[in-house]
């Protein structure tokens, strides 16, 4: 663990991506394969099944330090990270320590907690803490409670592995995709020579991600070089037809098997050795448009949907790309060719497998006019894909753009605030906003992002000085400040007090020019939701 702690410290200290990549590559070359495998797993965002609750960690800390629960809570609110709070509050360890390897922590020690009763678990935690230096107390707690969050993306881990193994990043990304099980052999296999049948297993292909179009659309050149499609608001997924079964992978590279039986059933008809990329949408037969995302959410949560849910909220796959056919990897072929093959493949296979229609327009201006219909069609805008583009790995700018319609905006009043986490710990950065319902302000949205550091600092000071009441970490503040919020969609909701729920709310601007009476009214939001 000492070696991994040293790597973590370097990663935590530097903001330079190249320095982080170099440090990881050096670690992969140096560390025992068993440990390196787990480093890949946790740095790439992997987590263990949780074996101790926050309450148990707090109890162990209270027993170990003798501090009152409220004081531990105050410290946690200030630090914004329980793992770190514990490391900072425990007495400083001075003696020499034994060094337990990372893989022993991940494979034996941390999982062993789950087999204990709560009181023994708390005692074992205390025993571990006593034997560890502060930075390892922090790391063990982090590994126990969630992800490391050290400014390393999955992509950067892939790059570091590629640098260490001297192999293309796309190959490493593919080898890591899906459910990769850490282990010495699995780690060694990452660096092995490329095989011809590399893609034939159950691992999904790394998804190609579009970038938001920020420039003038006309700067993309000839409209005829591009394929325009609706930007569907569903779940991005890969449908794989393998020897005797079909698999569905989400964009987060999780298996969705069993959740969408109608799609798996339709896939049984497809020839063995093909992979489709598309969007899962909730869509009832004979309707012109898909159901709102909220309907699909009911399906996402259900591992084995019942007959009623299947009847009320059927799903289909809106396919837009073909990555493999007859066992051949098609990703280097131009999009136009892949799409033609896809069209032939799923033609006349019924509504569950649909080809995402092309949106034709003679010029950009006409396309922009059609784009205005996006919301009526329950889509988020248009996708623009270069017809001769290969299917790339990850987010690479240039060939695929998402050209979203402008978000909805409202002016809303800041009502509550609570401290953020990580980089924003100790600062009030999580805000709740309200709009007018008669002469009362009712909360309608929570937003975390959109202000710059200077504004966050100014608002933080104001919040501290104008707190009316406290509910745990949450403070209610005087209704004074108006913010312009943007969001992607709004729906009627029985679960929310205001009767509406907004999707992806974020702060556009601090409207210091507006007084609270200028904020929007709930009725206006309801109208948007029903429209």
């Amino acid at each position: 663990m000492r070696r991994f702690a040293a790597l973590f410290e370097i990663l935590d200290r530097t903001s330079s991506t190249s320095a982080k990549r170099d440090a990881m590559a050096a670690y992969f070359a140096d560390a025992p394969a068993q440990d390196a495998a787990w480093a890949v797993y946790v740095l790439g965002g992997g987590k263990l099944k949780r074996t101790a609750s926050s309450t148990e960690l707090r109890t162990a800390l209270a027993r170990e330090t003798g501090y009152a629960d409220w004081l531990i809570d105050d410290c946690y609110q200030h630090v914004g990270d329980l793992a770190e709070t514990i490391a900072l509050m425990l007495p400083r360890e001075e003696q020499a320590h034994e060094d337990t390897p990372l893989h022993v922590w991940m494979e034996a020690r941390l999982p062993s907690l789950g087999r204990l009763e709560s009181p023994e678990r708390i005692e074992l935690l205390r025993e571990w803490w006593r034997g560890l230096p502060r930075e390892q107390v922090f790391l063990v707690n982090k590994l126990l409670t969630g992800s490391l969050r050290v400014g390393v993306s999955h992509r950067l881990v892939v790059q570091a592995l590629a640098q260490w193994a001297d192999l293309p990043t796309d190959l490493i990304a593919h080898r890591l995709s899906g459910t990769w099980k850490p282990g010495a052999d699995a780690f060694a296999a990452l660096a092995g020579p490329e095989r011809a049948d590399e893609h034939a297993g159950e691992r999904p292909y790394p998804f190609f991600l579009a970038s938001p179009l920020e420039q003038d659309v006309a700067s993309l050149g000839e409209v005829g070089d591009w394929l325009a499609e609706w930007k569907w608001d569903g779940i991005r997924a890969q449908l794989m037809r393998r020897d005797d079964h079909a698999l569905v992978w989400s964009r987060g590279e999780e298996r969705l098997d069993g959740r969408f039986p109608e799609i798996e059933l339709a896939a049984a008809d497809l020839p063995v050795g093909c992979v489709l990329d598309g969007e899962i949408l909730a869509w009832t037969l004979d309707e012109a448009h898909p159901m709102p995302f909220a309907a699909l959410q009911k399906r996402i949560g259900k591992l084995k949907p019942g007959a009623k849910l299947l009847a009320d909220t059927p799903v289909r796959l809106m396919a837009y790309d073909l990555l493999e056919l007859g066992g051949d990897d098609l990703r280097e072929r131009p999009l136009a060719e892949r799409r033609a093959l896809l069209a032939t493949l799923i033609e006349d296979r019924g509504p569950t497998l649909m080809l995402s229609p092309a949106v034709d327009a003679p010029d950009w201006e006409a396309l922009a006019t059609v784009r205005v219909e996006s919301r009526e069609r329950r889509t988020e805008g248009l996708m623009l894909k270069r017809l001769d583009s290969p299917y790339r790995v990850g987010r690479k700018r240039g060939d695929w753009w998402k050209w979203k319609v402008d978000p909805y905006t409202i002016d809303a009043v800041l009502l509550y605030a609570q401290p953020g986490h990580g980089r924003r710990s100790g600062l009030f950065t999580d805000y709740t906003f309200g709009v007018w319902d008669g002469d009362a302000l009712v909360p309608v949205a929570k937003a975390y992002s959109g202000l710059d550091d200077a504004e966050i600092g100014r608002l933080d000071r104001w919040i501290r000085a104008h707190t009316i009441d406290r509910f745990g970490p949450v403070r209610s503040v005087e209704a004074t400040h108006v913010f312009e919020l943007a969001f992607e969609a709004i729906q009627a909701s029985g679960r929310h007090k205001a009767g509406v729920a907004v999707r992806f709310p974020r702060i556009l601007r601090w409207r210091t020019d507006l007084a609270i009476r200028d904020a929007d009214k709930l009725d206006d939001l309801r109208r948007l939701a029903s429209g």
């Binding site: 903001s15 400083r92 501290r464």
Partner: protein, 340 residues
Amino acid sequence: MDSDLLLPRPEGLYCPAGDFFIDPMQPVARAVVTHAHGDHARSGSALYHVARAGGALMRERLGAGSVIHEHDWSERFTLGDTTISLHPSGHILGAAQVRIEGRGKVAVVSGDYKRDPDPTCEPFEPVPCDIFVTESTFGLPIYRWPPMHDVVSDILGWLDECRERGVAAVLFCYALGKAQRVLAEMAARTDRTVHLHGAMLRLVEAYREAGVRMLPTVPVSESARGKDFAGELIMAPPSAAGSTWMRRFGKASTGFASGWMQVRGARRRRGYDRGFVVSDHADWPGLLRSVDDCGAKRIYVTHGDGEALIRHLRDTGHEAFPLRSLGGTMPDLRSSEEGD
């Protein structure tokens, strides 16, 4: 009534029995000033009482025209119906606690203070009293300062790393107090020359004149144009971070010396490459120890979020209150990061 000795007013903390203010924020007739930091020493008052050890710094801060009475440590003098004396607080050079005796009671206003050893100033002197006014800038148990020897080792390790990589090492810290303390602590371990930002020059000189031994320093501005700063240590106030002044160093690694660097989120938010935990304020054990050492019956807590300290003191059998509970009104002196 404690408020006949201490009463918050819009101008600052007022002593009715002695008719003077401590560290007033606005010009007043009579002021006792604890130390020379800008949020404590403000010009414009008619008359100042300060500790002799900090006299030179005070003249620098308050301006040559100010009327300043200097007092030796523990020397007693009379203001109104009170007897006053000043005692070291260990915060920076010449920083004082104010002892006020009057109306049959003794109150001590500690100002900013710390308990850790500091080669640039006299150590904190516990002063027995009935009423103790304490700061709580770092009033949570997560704040426990590492030994300075370890921190200096970290700084030296960072310098070696920078030298190896061929980049300049720019250490940001407050120009008064922190910079001199780091220079003095490092002087025991190395003899390399440090390059100073212009804002630090006179203050470092003032410490030198007061007899504090520090590393040799040269102004950055006196280096030839195009000088290669690779592997050199440069010290600058935080305001210089990200300014055009930084360009001359080419590739540089940045560090920040502050008590706030104890928390990872604060470290990452500031965007420095390295954080070094060095504070001139008392840490949590230092605050508790000082409350015990002075044996006061009642503790008043000033500065920012002192709520945790107050509640903890009450839980452990002390009478503790926020300073504002004395009545009166005073603007909220939420401790800013500058106050570190």
